[in-house]
Symmetry: C2
Subunit: 203 residues, 2 copies
DNA sequence: ATTATCTATAGATCTATAGATAATGC
DNA sequence: ATTATCTATAGATCTATAGATAATGC
């Protein structure tokens, strides 16, 4: 018998391990390739299991996607105090290559390319992020706060796509990019400048 | 607009008109569906021509895509003074539904989902936009200006995707969204605030 | 006996091509 | 005669399923 290893031998009958391997492989591929360009055979191959098992355990490709992004897509959201959410999210997005932590977030974002895939789960996750970002906006107008948060989430989506496609912007100074993104995000989510605010600057 | 055929049916032998119809149909579908989810049969059907003609005139699907986005993708860039580029681009993006003017821009952006499709043409167009946006940045550091412009283009991509998918953000107040986007874009592309600006390197 | 895994393949696309048909030009 | 258009289909995927095989539990 082989001694137990971290990623474990999959051939041995172990339904739970097979499920986990498929979920992990799915998350990786969905994050880097998007839903459409990820094939079930590629997921199964990466997981080291027969592709028929994907259907046995998840019904279909969309079932795997939904479960893969549901599991821990809120990880970033709950990885620290809400105060640091902006900085933490940006850092996660830009460090996707070094750590696998961003995969659920990326998978959610990239799933957006396929309009009807995992709609309810994806919508729910996107709403969670939008709601959390909206909480950072200091305004009594909730609709406005949500609008700004949605614009920010769109930005994260665009950046993640640009980096995985070969559009410009994937190979540049990441530290500077983070700084610029954070600065603009604060302008987006922060208080309106006095010239645009409803009441004029009193002092 | 969906089936507007200028002069008579396409059945009449007219290679030029057939080409134009395929290009127009391709632009529309590539803009709204992206490259992957657009089928050659759907393009041909929308153009009202036999699908075999697409291959006759453009070689393959990618050939159609490349020619479709090359034709007038720089339209927005050249539709007015560079001074107004930011405002004009944002307005074009948000008014995509009312006018077909944004289709080339959207097609370029959405083509980003498929990493290798029309790579050279797409890269060239993206570079044109990035370069134009970078020109708006008032800094002697060209690399930094390009970086900021790339982040902005990524934002446009994310917004266009969010609006065509069912992610949140597609049905909200567009006037307010434009205002927020412009404000944050100015923070991104504009001069750095004094607190963050450092001494010029090597001064 | 149960069920995790594997083999083999159906069925549905989708891109692309070969060759037939038919409308124009000479 | 040339060539734009159409028919029919090849060939390559890809998702999904039915049923065989083999490892575990009772």
């Amino acid at each position: 018998m082989t001694s137990a290893r971290p990623s474990g031998p999959i051939r041995t009958r172990d339904a739970a391990a097979t499920r986990r391997a498929l979920l992990a492989a799915g998350r990786e591929l969905f994050a880097s390739e998007g839903f459409d360009r990820t094939t079930v055979r590629a997921v199964a191959e990466r997981a080291g299991v027969n592709q028929a098992l994907l259907f046995r355990y998840f019904g279909n490709k969309e079932g795997l996607f939904a479960e893969a992004i549901r599991d821990d897509a809120l990880e970033v959201l709950e990885a620290g105090p809400r105060r640091d959410l902006l900085e933490r999210t940006v850092a996660t997005l830009f460090h996707a290559s070094s750590a696998a932590d961003a995969e659920p977030l990326l998978a959610v974002l990239r799933g957006a390319s396929s309009s009807q895939i995992g709609a309810e789960v994806r919508q729910q996750l996107a709403d969670s992020y939008v709601s959390a970002f909206a909480d950072l906006v200091d305004t009594p107008d909730r609709a406005d706060a949500v609008l700004r948060a949605e614009l920010f989430l769109s930005w994260l989506l665009g950046i993640s796509l640009s980096r995985s496609a070969d559009l410009p912007g994937h190979s540049l100074d990441e530290v500077a990019a983070q700084a610029h993104l954070l600065r603009a995000a604060r302008a987006l989510l922060g208080p309106l400048p006095a010239t645009l605010a409803t009441d004029p600057p009193g002092s």
